[in-house]
Symmetry: C2
Subunit: 563 residues, 2 copies
């Protein structure tokens, strides 16, 4: 966030009905479900069908013809709408899988958790299904805080809630989860990104619409080339794809289990320009963990319409002032008032507020029909040529007013962490029972373990001295002074991914040195107590690697004890 | 958290009904309200009465006798229960203050937001009103993670939701807010704290129960003395009061606007041993911002009872093994089975699970009545002396099993931030219009502003070089390159509490130095660009103060420009 000077905000989870009605969530944020007509158990229509088809395909008695039919449905399941599902349920006479009972009709189930705000019970609200809306409704304040300048991004890390019909797959589909969302606001006519230069040589695996249609594999491509070739819609989108790639690989996601898949046209909302999902492969196959979408100006548009708060921004033309030919309008109050009496004020305001498109239409009507209309205060009024002059003028214009587009990288933190745990899980080559978690030091929850080799009072006395130094450096640590073997204790710290361990032994009492061990290589060096915390600082911030430490002649190597 | 090796957790906000029913929240977490019988507007009973009494006291026509009566009610308002309120509403014939309409009967309003979890609508849930319950229901796993050792603390920062009848007072009473709660689990027989030594010389303002009853003022007292004198119940409670005091004053809360007020006996829950609120004075008077309570074993007790999960811990006696006289039981299956047939297995299990108290009762019954009873699988069975032997034995016991007590410091983050903003707001002595926010560097959201003195291309080119160094050090910064006067730009950064500012000028082009200004003193030094970020690192982590910088001959002083 600091790198791109984003404006971090924290909006509420409880959201008034009107916000989510305006955004379209109250009407459309639903999954289709059917219920067991006896037990009331609910099933997601697409999940139920998918599992039924898969079960049929596994049966021996399924004919080749049926097999082809089921496979064709499976492939198109994501495109099916409610009537398609209804036909399939009837055709195959589907029953509740757990009981064999008849199913209810298909009904949409809104995924938002509803509640009542305040004591009267008449103010409905929902738990937000995404953090984005808070940033859209606060856009005016964010823009003002940024001195009216574009582009800029707002960012928010927080909870989102979705009342899933069937939570499943561990952390992958849960009802309450942490999202990190960025809303980057740009001029729709200029989606270049000032820092794209630093990103255009980065090579990432792209699975474009075309490759998907062709049933081909993803290809490695430089982001700069992908933008030039029109595969990625614009620089800003590509910049955030690059940042996402760098972030995910830095925290330990395997490069060969990461790809960017472009949304097919039928997957995207009608207003979206382009959308790429960072997908991570785990035992649940490829799973969407980050969505990076160009949502155009849809969100600001609907909120501006509903709230009547001006959400436009202004920018000077980058190439300097321009001579622009435009229509200018002049209402004639003296001609309007005899006809429209008290409405005159409202009509004049409406005429002055008309945009270029409206003026063009009115001008044409006046010229061809000798009359036109204007809507003021929800009523239509007739205007004749005497009441209004619309003329073409050429003016020096320094910039433009527009509704910004928004490019939204949206991170599902739980899904990323789940994938990371799978990617980080390893076994020692000599012992498949000995699992360890190779979390990079920068994200490991505990940075270092502190293990006394012997339970001797003098040695135990050193522990608080070491832990207080670690604490003062903000280094999280775990002490294990149980009398168990050092191998067993290392195994326990390895299992929870602690990257470094220090052991205190009799020699520590003599020369104030300890042994430091690195988790993945199990290699060990000897280091003085005073140097431990500063070195861990550097290791955990990525300034030095263990390899650097290992190659530094200052630190003697220590052979690992057999246990 | 790292300092005390706390186990940080993140539990869900959505909470199943059963958890909050067990904790007592479904039944008791309510405020009393009345409604306007016409408009349905809701009022909190205590707030409405308080305001009515205050209004009467301000009226000239109120007699001295009435005045005394109203004042006496006001003083006791916090102690009143539903019947007391009912009497007062009838006696004074209270009406809805906004409309004069009659009021409804008094009714309790549960402050939790209710929702339905899942698609069937038959699984009720609530948004948590505090984060604590998640740590209690996960206690077994936390204890296991800590190797079964006590004392230890769990900590959680997260949202809590309370459907306040009347949110008010800015950030002080809102419906969704961030809490930071610590649950420190200890042996109820040993509430000493290993680090208390480091805290006992700290002097804090204490407003004990006795001082409150005596209508005296808070007194300054050393924490060690307060524990010795029995004013604070135990070391652990006092340790966290000390940590709270150090935290609040470090982030900028004024020492003379902070006190610890002990709960009166009628304020505390019946199970609590002792409770102290850190109260901060603001324009809303003294407000509770942190509560530090010894809740005994109440929470673990109710959850263990309901869930049947063993939530006890074991500890060796600190003074070593003891010889303990206890009752030992031996069931006689051969005598039981002829009488109780298939139930025998259950009866034997129940007999072996009986605790000392139950055994004592059974032994007495067997001796006096020659029979006793046991409950197994929800049914009672008679036992005669032949079926069971209960005898007194003396054994060597190394430790004890117990339900831990919990000491809970609970921070209301919004209230602390609000108080901090009030305490940090200052005006320049020469200009009351020029407000600035003296947020300490360690918590200021922006650490430094970057201001070019002239809008010259060469100078503007230096900005991204500086900001990229700042970003790589994780230093949040705000660039203001509008052409406005430097005084105006400083005023703007002062208003939002940016502690340091650097200006770039023509001299920067020559010698790579910039001017650095400190917000509170407005004093300025000259420093080379390469030294800026490391110095800011030290200033913002508290390793050096601005005074140290000012007194360092290495940095030439710069006279502030008049604007």
């Amino acid at each position: 966030m600091i790198e791109d000077n984003m404006l971090e905000v924290e909006c509420t989870s409880l959201t008034p009905d009107t916000v989510l009605r305006t955004s379209g969530h109250v009407e459309k944020f639903a999954d289709l479900m059917v219920k067991d007509s006896v037990t009331n158990a609910a099933y997601r229509v697409d999940h139920l069908l998918k599992e039924w088809f898969k079960a049929q395909l596994e049966k021996k008695e399924t004919t080749a013809e049926q097999r082809a039919e089921y496979e064709s449905h499976l492939a198109r399941l994501d495109d099916y709408k409610e009537p398609d599902f209804e036909k399939l349920f009837k055709k195959y006479n589907l029953k509740a899988p757990d009981t064999g009972n008849p199913l209810t009709e298909i009904l949409p189930f809104n995924l938002m958790f509803a509640t009542a705000i305040g004591p009267t019970g008449d103010t409905p609200g929902f738990l937000r299904p995404e953090t984005a809306q808070g940033m859209f409704v606060n856009f005016r304040r964010l823009l003002d805080f940024n001195g009216g300048k574009l582009p800029f991004a707002a960012a928010q890390i927080g909870l989102a809630f979705r009342n899933e019909i069937a939570p499943r797959a561990g952390l992958l589909r849960v009802r309450e989860f942490t999202m990190a969302e960025i809303e980057h606001f740009v001029n729709p006519n200029n989606k270049k990104h000032p820092k794209f230069k630093s990103m255009c040589e980065l090579t990432v695996p792209l699975f474009s619409r075309k490759l998907q249609t062709d049933e081909a594999e993803p290809v490695l491509m430089k982001l700069g080339d992908a933008v030039s070739a029109g595969i990625i819609n614009n620089e800003t989108l590509a910049y955030f794809m690059g940042r996402t790639y760098m972030f995910l690989t830095a925290i330990g996601i395997h490069k060969d289990k990461l790809r960017f898949r472009q949304h097919m046209n039928n997957e995207m909302a009608h207003y979206a320009c382009d959308c790429w999902d960072a997908e991570i492969k785990s035992s649940y196959d490829w799973v969407e963990c980050v969505g990076i979408a160009d949502r155009a100006c849809y969100d600001l548009h609907v909120h501006q319409d509903k709230s009547k708060v001006n959400l436009t921004a202004y920018e000077d033309f980058p190439e300097g002032p321009k001579m622009v030919t435009m229509l200018e309008v002049k209402p004639m109050p003296k001609a309007i008032s005899p006809k429209h009496a008290k409405a005159t004020g409202g009509i004049i305001t409406a005429i002055n507020a008309a945009n270029q498109e409206q003026l063009k239409k009115m001008k044409a009507e006046l010229e061809t029909l000798a009359k036109t209309h204007i809507t003021a205060d929800n009523q239509q009024y007739e205007l004749v040529p005497a009441m209004i002059t619309i003329s073409e003028v050429t003016k020096r214009v320094t910039g433009e007013t527009f509704l910004p587009s928004v490019i939204e990288p949206s991170f599902g933190i739980g899904r990323i962490i789940y994938s990371l745990l799978e990617h980080s899980y390893n076994c020692r080559p000599d012992d498949a029972q000995r699992g360890y978690l190779s979390l990079p030091p920068i994200i490991a929850p505990y940075k270092v373990s502190v293990l006394p080799l012997v339970s001797n009072d003098q040695i135990l006395d050193i522990i608080p001295k070491i832990t207080s130094i670690l604490a003062s450096h903000g280094l999280s640590h775990k002490v294990d002074s149980t009398g168990q073997s050092i191998g067993r204790r290392y195994a326990r710290t390895d299992e929870i991914g602690i990257p470094f361990g220090i052991t205190i032994d009799y020699a520590t009492l003599q020369d104030n040195t300890v042994t430091m061990r690195e988790r993945d290589s199990c290699s060990q060096i000897r280091i003085s107590i005073t140097e431990v915390a500063p070195l861990l600082d550097q290791l955990c911030s990525g300034q030095v690697s263990w390899k650097d430490v290992w190659n530094n002649p200052k630190f003697p190597h220590v052979e690992a004890a057999k246990d």
